[in-house]
Amino acid sequence: MSSPLTTASPAAPAEPAGPGRRAPRLRRPRGGHQPGRPKRSVLLTVLASLVVLYTVVPLIWLAVNATKTQSGLADSSGLWFARDFALWDNVRETFTYDDGVFTRWLLNTLLYVVLGAGGATLLAVLGGYALAKFAFPGKRGIFALVIGAVAVPGTALAVPTFLMFSKMGLTDTPWAVIIPSLVSPFGLYLMWVFATEAIPTELLEAARIDGAGEARTFFRVALPLLAPGIVTVLLFTTVATWNNYFLPLIMLKDPDWYPLTLGLSAWNSQAETIGGDVIFNLVITGSLLTILPLIAAFLLLQKYWQSGLSAGSVKE
């Protein structure tokens, strides 16, 4: 995969004027080439700003509108505050509405993430390491299988998976969400590539010569080297599980096992039901609360996964 950290390179399509233009060279600041500080490009800065705007405006909208009451939502501008500031009331009501079912949904989501995403990462690490560092028959076949699996959208498998789980009597239980989440072809592929690059085979050989068993070699030598990759895969699977909607939608009927995505959607669809409580304010506040843990996870783990993404991209 291409590294997003190198996008500011001078080779970017900032000057479409064609060959022979020398202007970029002349504009370079004094001091010449500094490897740590790539040259700025106006076009890219503008493009990046647009992208930032595109991604941040919905977030701002969410944060601003979480402060409004139901009627404040209806009669105030979307991107500015209403007269009343109801954020704390909204948060309290989100957690207490319908006997505090939101907390239950939050705990469910955490359960699915810890077991599903955690398990998926564990399996991806073990599998990726084995595929990268051990030779065994059928490896090419597995490679084709994994690449193929990456291309199949989970949505396409949902209905067959439902029928299979139904036969096993697992629908409407947490297992119906956790077990399919354990499979992450993309995570496996990422770990495979990462392990190939990050763990020098010589190091493993050295460990083996020193008398370490395979388990010890894996845990003591390979695992620390894989840490950035593990964090990256963990973040990917966490986000996928946290946001998973379609799978729980068809697997679960009992609201007590809903993850947040389904719960919020159920709250939202109350507005479409006769006599149903219209609680857009709680849907919005609930959505804001739902993304906070993800934002926190990204911020806390940022440095690990950034180094993970670029590792192996430069030949030493």
């Binding site: 209806a74 379609f246 009927k253 959607s265 039901t273």
Partner: protein, 445 residues
């Protein structure tokens, strides 16, 4: 009841429809069901007790279930009430095709009943005595739940149409409340001219609304006889509807807002959507969804296609059914009867549901109910008259949920591009015919 046809989950609805179709022939054997069940059997089952799982989103059922359990302490009603619409039908179809996790009672809207009845997904309630209840209900809903001598559910509520209008806006611009659709068109022009931000109505293409309007105009596009289906959108009624609605679209007199969204609630509240032609269940939604406009709105009879004519139509409404694969049939039927034919009706009407039973509709208590939200108007009189004027020869397709799911790809184009409504309806007809043939129906065009 819930009128928004899902765009978001269209694919999902399609998948489940296919899944349902695939297992249609492998469903349970209907004949085991046809044994008559006496009132004594049901009483015995109630004494013995057990549990009944109900999938329904109708909010008043919570109180009904509580009352029922109080009356029959040995029966546990397990009300699963979080979902409505597409998601509900997807879950129900999935459960039926999987043969597991099927509820004992399921809420099914009238437009979707045909699909489940035809695929033998539902039990015939006639052997339980439901066939003797015909005279209790108004013709529209009763016609919707029956097919020949089979009864596939008991009507829970109905949606005789009425015109809800924002009196404040109409008074402000001195516009008369329209009594015909031609006057409605004039009112739309006047209003939009007086306030370019205001529209007579919102319509971004809604299958449920369009079929109801065709129903009122006398069009009968769907003729269904078992697996023989005729689809034709070219009769005189459809032409009447197209003529008026095409002008509303061409002159940009309709707010391009989808129903049931936050924009819609906002428009109903701030006067930019001035009328709403919909089912009589709407007052409950005004109260919860548009609380700030209390006092602004009134109800009136649905405009007529010809002055003085009284035809009306149903919009929405749903029934409680017994899925064929459900368990505890006697208890399930006892609950359905209690909720939709017995004491449950009073509870539900009190909480804002609109009944499908004649006795309630005609009772002085019901008719003289003053709606605080409508400035003290006795709106039920209008609704009850509408209910009496609904023609009972309308039928939906046995695959109406699918047909509704493709409405926006066909008729919906008339709202956003140069396609005419007539061409859109023709495209809808063609697509429905094609799907019907693929599903093994004999389709006559």
């Amino acid at each position: 009841m819930r009128r928004k046809t899902g765009r978001l989950l269209r694919g999902l609805a399609l998948l489940s429809t296919l899944a349902l179709g695939a297992t249609a022939c492998g469903g349970s054997d209907d004949s085991s069901d046809t044994k008559a069940v006496s009132a004594g059997d049901i009483q015995a089952a109630l004494k013995k007790g057990g549990s009944v799982t109900v999938w329904a989103w109708e909010p008043t059922l919570k109180s009904v279930a509580a009352d029922f359990q109080k009356k029959y302490p040995k029966v546990k009603i397990n009300l699963v009430s979080e979902r409505s619409g597409d998601k509900h039908y997807t879950a129900l179809s999935n459960a039926i095709s999987a043969g597991k996790g099927v509820p004992d009672v399921a809420q099914v809207e009238y437009f979707a009943l045909g699909q489940y009845a035809l695929t033998k997904g539902l039990s015939d309630l006639a052997p339980y005595g439901a066939d003797k209840l015909a005279s209790k209900y108004t013709p529209g809903p009763w016609n919707a739940v029956t097919e020949g001598d089979k009864v596939y559910g008991l009507p829970m509520d109905s949606g005789p149409m009425a015109l809800f209008y924002n009196k404040k806006v109409f008074d402000k611009y001195k516009i008369a409340v329209p009594t015909t659709w031609d006057e409605y068109l004039d009112a739309a022009r006047k209003l939009h001219k007086a306030d370019p931000k205001a529209y007579i109505a919102n319509d971004a293409g809604d299958a449920g609304f369009t079929t109801s309007m065709l129903w009122q105009a006398g069009s009968r596009p769907y003729q269904v006889d078992g697996t023989k289906v005729k689809i034709d959108f070219s009769d005189a009624g459809a032409t009447k509807f197209e003529a008026v609605w095409q002008k509303l679209i061409d002159e940009k007199l309709l707010a391009p807002v989808n129903g049931w969204t936050d924009d819609w609630y906002k428009g109903l509240g701030d006067g930019t959507i001035a009328t709403l032609a919909t089912g009589a269940w709407m007052p409950a939604n005004f109260v919860t969804g548009v609380p700030d406009a209390a006092g602004d709105w009134r109800a009136a009879a649905l405009p007529a296609w010809t002055a003085g004519e009284k035809a009306s139509a149903e919009n929405g409404g749903s029934s409680l059914t017994l899925p064929a694969l459900g368990k505890n049939k006697e208890l399930a039927y006892a609950f359905v009867e209690y909720a939709n034919s017995g004491d449950g009706i009073a509870t539900r009407v009190k909480e804002g549901a609109f009944p499908a039973t004649k006795a309630e509709l005609e009772s002085p208590d019901f008719q003289s109910t003053k709606f605080e939200y409508f400035g003290g108007q006795e709106a039920n009189k209008i609704f009850a008259e509408s209910a009496a004027n609904v023609a009972d020869d309308w039928s939906y397709l046995p695959f109406q949920p699918y047909a509704n799911s493709i409405f926006n790809d066909t008729v919906g184009k008339a709202y956003v591009s140069g396609t005419t409504l007539a061409d859109g309806l023709k495209a809808w007809q063609d697509a429905s015919v094609k799907y019907g043939e693929e599903q093994g129906f004999t389709v006559e065009k």
